[in-house]
Structure formats: C-alpha cells, structure tokens
C-alpha cells in the first residue's frame, strides 16, 4: 500500500504511533516511515492539520516543549483516542479478513 492509500487512514496511523508514547510531529512521521519500511512516505506537512483536528476531536492532547532552543508541540493519546484506535483496529481487521477471503489470500 502506497502513501496515497495510507492518507485515507492517516488518523488511525497517527493514533497508533502515539499509542506507543507521546511525540511531536517530526517523530510521528519518522516513526510512520520506519514502521512501514518507507512505504508511507507522504508529504510531512500534511500531518499537522491531522494532529490539530484529532486534538480538537478530543482524541489527542498536547503541550509545548522547548528543547535545544526549539519549541515543539508534543502530542499524546487521550482515553477517548485509545477507544477510537481500538474501534478502528477492529474495523480494519474485519475489513482485511474479508478482503483476504475474497482475493483468496491467506490472512
């Protein structure tokens, strides 16, 4: 799956990365690239509007952090965000099982 297709699931991917621990935007995008072995190499700037939207929806919370004279917004998952991630993960599993069954691919 390429970066274009991953865009439709960006919210879930962000929640998943942040479920491992707090991080700022640069760390989130780097972790996405690392975990996908470079397949999810999307324009990095598009992650910030998504982070802001998820925070407004109550799925993330954030604080400013200054390190080496550079201000960064550090995001962390809320309880509501953890629930949303669990729901999205279940839905994805169901979907992938169905796709595999139709395509005749072992799950």
């Amino acid at each position: 799956m390429g970066a274009d297709r991953a865009k439709g699931h960006l919210d879930t991917l962000i929640l998943s990365v942040l479920s491992m621990g707090p991080g700022h935007g640069y760390e989130v995008i780097a972790e996405l690239r690392r975990r996908s072995d470079g397949a999810f190499d999307m324009p990095e700037g598009t992650i910030y509007p998504s982070l802001h939207r998820l925070e407004k929806q109550g799925l993330l919370e954030s604080d400013w952090d200054t390190h080496d004279g550079r201000r960064r917004r550090v995001y962390r998952l809320t309880a509501q965000g953890a629930t949303a991630l669990a729901v999205a993960t279940t839905e994805w599993r169901r979907f992938s099982v169905s796709m595999n069954a139709v395509l005749g691919v072992a799950g």
Binding site: G25, Y26, G45
Partner: protein
C-alpha cells in the same frame, strides 16, 4: 527556497484564526529544522539540507490547503456558537430595553415613551379596541399609550426570557461538541449589526416614527440605547483582539 522563505509563503497562504496559524508556523519551523539537521548529519551541506527538508514537507500551498480543510468543520461549529451568542445578546437586549423604557416612563412620562405621535391617524376599530381594554382612559390616544406599555412589557420581556432559555439549552448541547476558537471577524460582525441597528432605532426615536404596531419615541430611544450598549461590548472585544499580544 530557504526555511524562512517557506514560512513566509505558508503564512501568506494560511487562512483561519490567528492562533491556529501561529501554531502551524511554529511547528513547521521546528519540523523543517529537525529534518534539515538530520540531512546535515547524513553528510548533506546546509543549503541542500534545507531544500530536501522543504521538498519532503510539501508545498506551502498543499499544507495551507490541508490545514484549511481540517479547520472547516470546527469553523462552522464556532460560527454557529457565535451566532447563538449574538442572538442571545439581541434577545437579552430586547428584554433590557423594555425595562429601560419603563424607567424612562417614570422619569419622562408615559406619553413620551409609549404615546402615539401627534398627527397619526388611527382606525376607529383600533381606537374601539384600545378603549375596550382600557376603559378608564380619557381618550383614544391615552388608551393607545396604555396598550403599548402593556404589550411592550409582556412581549419584550416574555420573548427575551423564552429566547434565552432556548439559547441556554443550545449552548449546553454545543458545549459537548469539539472545541473551536471564535473566528476573529465575529466581534466586527456584532459591532456592525448592533451598531447599524442602534443607529436606525435612535433615528426612529428622533423622528418619532410610527409603524402600525410599533410606536413611542421613548421606546425607540430605549431600544436604540440598549443596542448601542451591545455594540460597544462588541467594540471592546474587537479592540482587545486587534491589540498586539
């Protein structure tokens, strides 16, 4: 393009509340400098590192567009809340102006506040109705004034109370929705709306305007003064937003 030039272009292309734009710019700068540092560590020279970091981040146009798209639903919610607050201010003002008109009637007289303008021809049917409701009135004009005073209190104060209750319920329901900053142009809208209304009402009082169902110089003036007070409230809010942080 350098990081500074990129940030300038992103600022120019960004739309929405100032706080949101400022936050995006700060995060973008930190991200680009982190990415450029990583390139330099990998052996790329400083100028090329900035260019690579910018390429990977995406064009200012694409980032600004994505930011605007993400804000849209929250902006609509914020506008709905601002509209409700504006309507609440208007309804409360209607109630307050009715009470102000009462006070003015004590000071300047009932006829000044509620009385029919001189020279206005009213129908015999209206006169008969007012005299039936107020049999103690000595004349049709006096009965019209008494009727105007009674109607004003009932409809204005009653309407304001009902409206405020409905808006209170709507505010509680909307509080559970995602947070949204009030758009910067809302105080300007409030100032314009209530300012123009105040001007029109004060002019109606100056001319002692008669519209079937609406009359009374003091009532127009009380309505205008209340609308002016609300407009001043929005002017203060606007000034505090325009003041540099």
């Amino acid at each position: 393009m350098t990081i500074e030039e990129y940030l300038d272009e992103l600022l120019v292309r960004s739309k929405g509340p100032a706080a949101e734009i400022r936050r995006l710019l700060v995060e973008t700068e930190a991200h680009l400098r982190d990415a450029a540092d990583a390139e330099i560590e990998a052996g790329v020279d400083a100028a090329a590192a900035e260019i690579r970091a910018i390429e990977r981040f995406g064009s200012p146009r694409a980032v600004a567009r994505a930011a605007h798209r993400a804000q849209r639903p929250f902006l609509l919610a914020a506008l709905a809340v601002a509209g409700i607050r504006m309507a609440a201010a208007g309804l409360a003002a209607i109630g307050v102006s009715a009470l102000l008109a009462r006070l003015l009637a004590v000071l300047a007289g009932r006829t000044f506040v509620y009385g029919l303008p001189s020279g206005v021809a009213v129908s015999a049917r209206d006169c008969a109705h007012w005299l039936t409701v107020h049999p103690a009135a000595a004349s049709c004009a006096r009965a019209a004034g008494l009727e105007n005073a009674a109607d004003t209190l009932v409809f204005h104060v009653g309407g304001a109370i009902v409206g405020l209750v409905i808006l209170g319920v709507a505010t509680v329901v909307l509080r559970r929705r995602p947070r949204a900053a009030t758009p910067d142009f809302v105080p300007a809208m409030g100032l314009t709306l209530f300012g123009v209304t105040a001007g029109a009402l004060l002019l109606a009082g100056y001319w002692n305007l008669y519209v079937p169902g609406l009359w009374g110089r003091g009532m127009w003036l009380a309505d205008g003064a209340t609308a002016l007070a609300v407009a001043l409230g929005y002017a203060v809010a606007l000034a505090s937003r325009l003041r540099p942080a």
